[in-house]
Symmetry: C2
Amino acid sequence: MPQNKQIHLDNRPVGQAVVSNFKLVISDTPALQDAQVLVRHHFLSLDPYMRGRMNDAKSYAVPQALGQTMGGGTVGEVVGSKNTKFAVGDKVVGMGGWQQYSVVDGDQPGALRKLDTSHIPLSAYLGAVGMPGVTAWYGLVKIIEPKVGETMVVSAATGAVGSAFAALSKARGCRTVGIAGGPAKCKYALEELGFDACIDYKLHPDAPSLSKALKDACPTGIDGYFENVGGMVLDAVLSRMNAFGRIAVCGMIAGYDGAPLPLAYPALILMSRLKLQGFIVSEHMEIWPEALKELGSLVATAKLRARESIAQGIEAAPEAFLGLLKGKNFGKQLVKLF
Amino acid sequence: MPQNKQIHLDNRPVGQAVVSNFKLVISDTPALQDAQVLVRHHFLSLDPYMRGRMNDAKSYAVPQALGQTMGGGTVGEVVGSKNTKFAVGDKVVGMGGWQQYSVVDGDQPGALRKLDTSHIPLSAYLGAVGMPGVTAWYGLVKIIEPKVGETMVVSAATGAVGSAFAALSKARGCRTVGIAGGPAKCKYALEELGFDACIDYKLHPDAPSLSKALKDACPTGIDGYFENVGGMVLDAVLSRMNAFGRIAVCGMIAGYDGAPLPLAYPALILMSRLKLQGFIVSEHMEIWPEALKELGSLVATAKLRARESIAQGIEAAPEAFLGLLKGKNFGKQLVKLF
């Protein structure tokens, strides 16, 4: 059996997460038992939710256990199988974690899903046609419920979720405005992702300044907002929401490190009769087939062309993950394992 | 035509509202034109939303105009009519304002509604069987959507909205917990309004302390919350909400005077997958008949026996209103005009 490099959570962050929270461990992959499948991972997905799991706090996810391989989504190839449902050479997506190989019970429902890579590249199943894409779909379709001609805004606009959100929102006839960090990301949002406008939040030191920029970019106000970041961006967007606006709360990355960020003016929820709703896409598996069908079609027809940031080798995962938390990535952050 | 005492908004509050914001004005009621009705008000309703209208700020309601009679709900009796739909002696509810008499166009849809006082006292149409009752109904039935066995919490529990909320929540088989100010209100909530528990927020200096009391009163957590106050009460309740909890945001009275109150930990919306939704009951007139039917039945069968605080005479309205904002009233705050 091949040697397997893994990244464990060695200790929990105090404030900001740092590289020394992680530890590289090398082990042998165990021999396969009946029904088990050995998967060689081509790509590991890095996602903001992982930061929340590093804390030992009450959260929606069970905390990541210390001394264990970090959890995470992976796509790869079956290289050994004692399960008749999976053959060597099959391409699969699963939760293989921060490691080169995983051994999976192929009979466990949902543990491994076979992929068709004839029109969709393997890595897209961790992004646009995977959990981030379905996340955008759920927030837009099930919580925001957009109407033709409305204005939609998304933060972290050039990330995996934001990219998919833009394509889905444009397909529904909505003005679609992004918020991203830096001129290169904003240019990319406009030229490649189909956004109608993109605001560089780094040009705005506070919520009133960002609110003014939102007024210019959203002349008829904001009807739907997909929240990935929290903090002053949420304060600014709230000030521009139209009556009966809907906000899908997917991430609060701004508050993952250190002190929780308050919401400055919650009375706006009442004054503008807003709906805010938090969600976790893994709790809504019933919508995945419908969402994946639309997302796959958008990717296969090049209406959704999401960029990827690819770190090389499992050893690079911690640094790439910390960069993701600071917005250093550009598009979907992946780690290529071989 | 009779002389009419009115309370005008003379100037806008700077920070806290004060008695000198108001001015007593005496005028003659004008002669009736065709289709008009002269109503002698028996009771004026005082409600927290009026404080918001005193500001000249962006809000859902048009600001109260300076130099004009304060707006407000009234019940009374027709004492003059040039409209065939209304006869002298008819009991009616309308938006007569802070004055003894009003002249109303009886043909304007919704301006005046005739009342049946055979089983329901006239004043109840300003409380349990009026706007406050329907407010409780909408928040509970349409936003919170309670299930049998769930736990519901309401702040300002012994007010007109809270009283109705308790009866409606108990009728749906929910554990119903109130938050109110002082031992007398809590005793009343338990003994007369049917609450299963009531927490005196005045015993709790901060959100963590109130949160602990909520844990005791809601051993299985909170599934639905009806928000009337905002501030630290909302922070405390948020910390005890169960996954997929629903919060109907009806009032933020704590922030009406002076500086807006932040929400300390908005990330809980995501972590607990909560829905928060603001609403104004006057925008949902389609549900009033259904709501009033249930509320009228609860009052007629004495399942809802809401207390009233009654100030005497229009001159007493400003002081009574300021007391309401500070929670000095006990139950529905009314002004008896004659």
